[in-house]
């Protein structure tokens, strides 16, 4: 049997990984083959060196650094909480902006129907008495004229009836025009 066929089993034997059923066969071969013994010794030496090379302890500071990073992640509030808080804040800001920037409220004026009472009847001119009469009678004085026209020009209050959209609300605007006329007379 070629020694190459033993290589894998010897490599396992060097690390103590050979199944018990194969141990005796490998040991018999090793006892008979010096080359394979050297090969096994080299493997064992290499394994020992590998273990020595990795025996150096890890500094406590390195472990503490990793632990601190992990615990910081673990105790940090979950990301969804920040998303929630951010969403709420954004909603609040948006609402404030909407309130601040919305256009002035359009006040809907009441639908008003104005009802003006019919104009007063035109003054009735009474014929002057026949046969002349006094000049005063033919040309009535200012006072007389005023007396003649008095009935027609007597100011009546101006009534404006405003009907709103609300059927229960009707606004009457009554303007007394006496003062206006008096003012005209004085002028």
């Amino acid at each position: 049997m070629n020694c190459l066929d033993w290589e894998e089993r010897i490599a396992l034997e060097a690390g103590g990984d050979l199944p018990a059923t194969e141990v005796s066969a490998v040991e018999q071969h090793l006892a008979a083959c010096s080359e394979c013994r050297a090969f096994r010794d080299a493997l064992s030496g290499n394994l020992e060196l590998l273990r020595q090379a990795h025996q150096a302890p890890i500094a406590e500071a390195q472990l503490a650094a990793v632990r601190a990073r992990v615990m910081a992640e673990v105790t940090r509030p979950p990301r969804w909480r920040w998303v929630w808080l951010g969403g709420l804040a954004a909603a609040a800001v948006t609402a404030m902006l909407l309130v601040a920037l919305r256009p002035a409220r359009v006040v809907e004026l009441p639908h008003v129907a104005v009802c003006v009472p019919p104009a007063p009847a035109p003054p009735v001119l009474r014929p002057l008495p026949r046969g002349g009469g006094s000049v005063a009678a033919r040309f009535p004085s200012r006072d007389r004229k005023g007396a003649v026209l008095a009935s027609a020009s007597e100011p009546e209050p101006l009534v404006v009836k405003m009907i709103t959209t609300d059927p229960d609300v009707v606004i009457y605007w009554i303007a007394d025009r006496t003062a206006d006329r008096t003012g005209d007379t004085d002028r």
Binding site: E7, G15, V66, V70
Partner: protein
Amino acid sequence: MNSLALIAAATLTIDRKAETAARFEALMRSHERMVLATAWRLLGNLEDAKDASQEVFLRFYRRMGEREECTNPAGWLYRVTVNVCHDHRRRGRGETQVEEFIEPVDTAPDPQRALTDSERQAAVRMSLRILSEKERAAVVLRDLEGLSTAEVAAALGSAEATVRSQIAKARVKMKNFVESYFRRRI
């Protein structure tokens, strides 16, 4: 549900979280050296190993949060460490040129021999880099972490026979690398 019940439920949740965090920290303290050392040996670089270690423990914490029973945390941590390191290397973050392991302490009285031992150790450390992903993981877990072949197989998700074959091939490759390294030097 009235407000008292809500407060009680919230307090219970906070208590549970605090309890989980405390339990997690205790578990982390008892396994952190193992995880970091394994990651360091697999990646060959301490900073990458620290990143990988952090990732491993965060996964572990999330698993605890999912209330999955973990009867063998060490086995689970080994498996996840191997996977995380594999991902690191695949992303090209764990690719090391030459390892920067801690310099060994020279105790040999003969300086010439001490130099040779130091060089041999450096060569052996480098020889890990020539192995395939699976071979390296098998050697690190079996020869450096001291797991049994059955435990290594469980951690790697392979059959025991496959692991034995990987370990044997890896040992031969490493021995040949060290020998050729010294032949070139001489």
